[in-house]
């Protein structure tokens, strides 16, 4: 059995199946939806950070672009949700293309420039002068397409696709080329790998994933403001979940989301002040002692982590 298929069947499919069945036994579907949303976003971030080493702190910019892409398609084109979702992904890809020059930067400079770009997009969307188009800072209401069950199902389909994609990146030629470019771009280029174009493709794939996540979020929640769609904590959560579990693996970001978002919902809601303390300490400890995430604990012992 090809390794791509093996990883997807052993890790990806069970996760999707579990989240498909959970609404039958647990009624807070919005909480489950948020888990699915962060699973998608963490894997989207994994696609760019895990395989190229570029850490986009402004990843929420693509998410917000997707949310507003969906909203604009519904409000102005009366698009059905499925088409609006595709347009949401397209909006994020277009934004990714505009921001492609940022890939000339690296490390902290890339992260900061990306964050600034996300803020710029937020300010444009929230500009009162664009109220006729985006509703400006006054938020959008998509009551006409509000369908929580259908949007949850769509989120699961997106998650399945994203998990299959990341499994392919891990074992496919393109993913291996990306990893080679991440580890030693000069050697990779000398070996004939088109490092720059491969990075751009990974960047646009990552943008597409966040855009689809933003679109399905807009569909599911139906009433939101620019500060909701461009909330920086979305980026931070996705980054922390990915780093905690282990980037460049399929199961690492999944473990990160399940453990940390689970922790957030158990401790963060009952005693948020302790949660912030615990979360802060966890991130500091992670960066200092486990920079490659939980997966590295097994990998150090020679265990293959899917």
């Amino acid at each position: 059995m090809p390794r791509v298929l093996r990883d997807f069947l052993s890790v990806g499919l069970p996760v999707v199946a579990i989240f498909a069945l959970l609404p039958l036994v647990y009624a807070n579907q919005l909480l489950l939806f948020n888990f699915v949303l962060f699973l998608i976003l963490a894997q989207g971030l994994n696609a760019i950070y895990g395989f190229t080493g570029y850490l986009p702190f402004g990843y929420v910019g693509f998410f917000g672009a997707g949310a507003y892409g969906f909203a604009l398609a519904v409000m102005h084109l009366a698009a059905p949700p499925a088409l609006a979702l595709l347009l949401a992904g397209l909006a994020a890809v277009l934004l990714g293309m505009i921001l492609t020059p940022l890939l000339r930067l690296s490390g902290a400079y890339f992260a900061i420039a990306n964050l600034a770009a996300a803020q710029a997009v937020y300010q444009v969307i929230a500009n009162p002068a664009l109220q006729d188009i985006t509703k400006g800072p006054y938020g959008v209401s998509l009551a006409s397409v509000f369908a929580p069950k259908a949007s949850y199902g769509a989120a699961l389909l997106i998650l399945a696709g994203v998990l299959a994609l990341v499994a392919w990146l891990r074992h496919g030629r393109f993913g291996l080329a990306l990893q080679a470019g991440r580890d030693d771009p000069v050697s990779a280029a000398m070996a004939g790998i088109p490092v720059v174009s491969a990075r751009i493709i990974a960047w646009l794939i990552s943008a597409l994933i966040a855009g689809l996540a933003g679109g399905v979020f807009a569909w599911h929640i139906s009433v939101f403001y620019p500060e909701t769609a461009f909330d920086l904590s979305t980026s931070i959560f996705a980054i922390v979940f990915t780093l905690f579990g282990g980037a460049a693996t399929l199961s690492g970001p999944i473990a990160g989301v399940i453990l940390l978002y689970g922790l957030y919902n158990v401790i963060g809601i009952s005693v948020p002040q302790y949660f912030q303390l615990i979360y802060g300490a966890l991130i500091v400890g992670l960066v200092l002692f486990l920079p490659r995430g939980l997966a590295s604990l097994l990998q150090r012992r020679g265990i293959d982590v899917p």
């Binding site: 009624a27 807070n28 579907q29 919005l30 909480l31 948020n34 300010q123 929230a126 009162p128 400006g136 800072p137 006054y138 938020g139 209401s141 009551a143 509000f146 929580p148 929640i221 139906s222 009433v223 939101f224 403001y225 500060e227 909701t228 909330d231 904590s233 979305t234 919902n265 963060g268 809601i269 948020p272 002040q273």
Partner: protein, 418 residues
Amino acid sequence: MTAWRKWGRGLAVFAVLVASGLAGGARAENAPAEIKIGHLHAGSGPYASISMPVYDSLKLWVEQQNANGGAFVKAYGKKIPLKLISYDDQSNPGTAATLTNQLITQDKVDLLVCDSGSVLTAVSVPIAREHKMFLFDPTGTGAAFFSKDNPYIALLADPVSTVWPRYLWEFLKSDAAKLGIKRVALLYATNDFTGTQANSIRAALKEPGSPVEIVFDQGVPTSTSNYSVLIDNIAATNPDMVLELGYVGNDIAFLRNLQESGQKFKGVFTLYPGIETNVLRKNVGAQGLAGVFSYVTALGLTLKPEVGMTVEELRAAFEKAYGEGGVEFGWNAIAGHVTGLVIGETLAHADSLSQPDLHRAVFGLSGKLKTLVGTFELRDDGAQIGELTPIGQFDATGKLGVVYPSDLATAKPVLGAP
């Protein structure tokens, strides 16, 4: 009447009394041990300053009810203790959405109260509607929440944003115009609350025949904390009066920057000095507030409630409960108390705790319930339209007097003061 008929009638009356007594007994026996009120508050983040006073005041009301054996619930014909389940959404709309769902689906609350402010209220509106759960909305005034096809919401304590500034534009077009106000600058924070008010004011002042023209009209992000350049830009357009509409932080920054700038206008209106007077007085000082026009809420009026406490009684109870260093008593604390009063009256009038009966009971209170903020009156879409927001002006000692409308006036407007 024959003896048989007398006996028959007596027997029938006895049977009805026994049946109703049994039914009442059965109702009381079936009564839950507690009535669960689900609520969200923001313990941190940008909305904490407006959310925490509502939460503290609602908590105080629940404690007072429970100290008297609970709230009277008509559906069970007896008093039942209340349990307030309130989660901290940390001013995060995503968390607020999840927690709203948590309250409905996991905690299975009997009554649902959303967080304060439009951004956090917005996420609860579709969720409550989806679950056919009636949403008690304390202060989320966004006009988009209220539509005739959504029977699952009522705004309790604040007037809807479109109604709120009515007295302001009436004042500008009548009394202020007579005093020489012809040119107005409109500066507002671009959020649902103040943006909607700015739209209403703009529309009213641009009506044909309006004696007042808008010479400066700009929205700024709600996060704006430095107004120095904006004040100079406004001064360059030579307005007679400046209307600044923002949240607490915006108004504090604007009034501080205005003092520092040395710019003088005949009149200045800002939104929050009359709403959270203590907070503004502490941060701007009585001198900074002198001459400023603002809305006058229940804090500055002496309305006699038919239900619940007066403002001074509530202030005393609130300050006793939360003491020095706690949350400041202001309009939002009053809003929390009003939320409690409406919940109490709803329970006292609803035939059952089913959501349609709760809806009927809340709307049945419209126009009849008189609290410390005035008459509770709902439009048929659930928007609050009954409360008064007169226009007032601070004098040199920091006291707020009502200047409009004339039937409520306790002072005359003074321009160029101090």
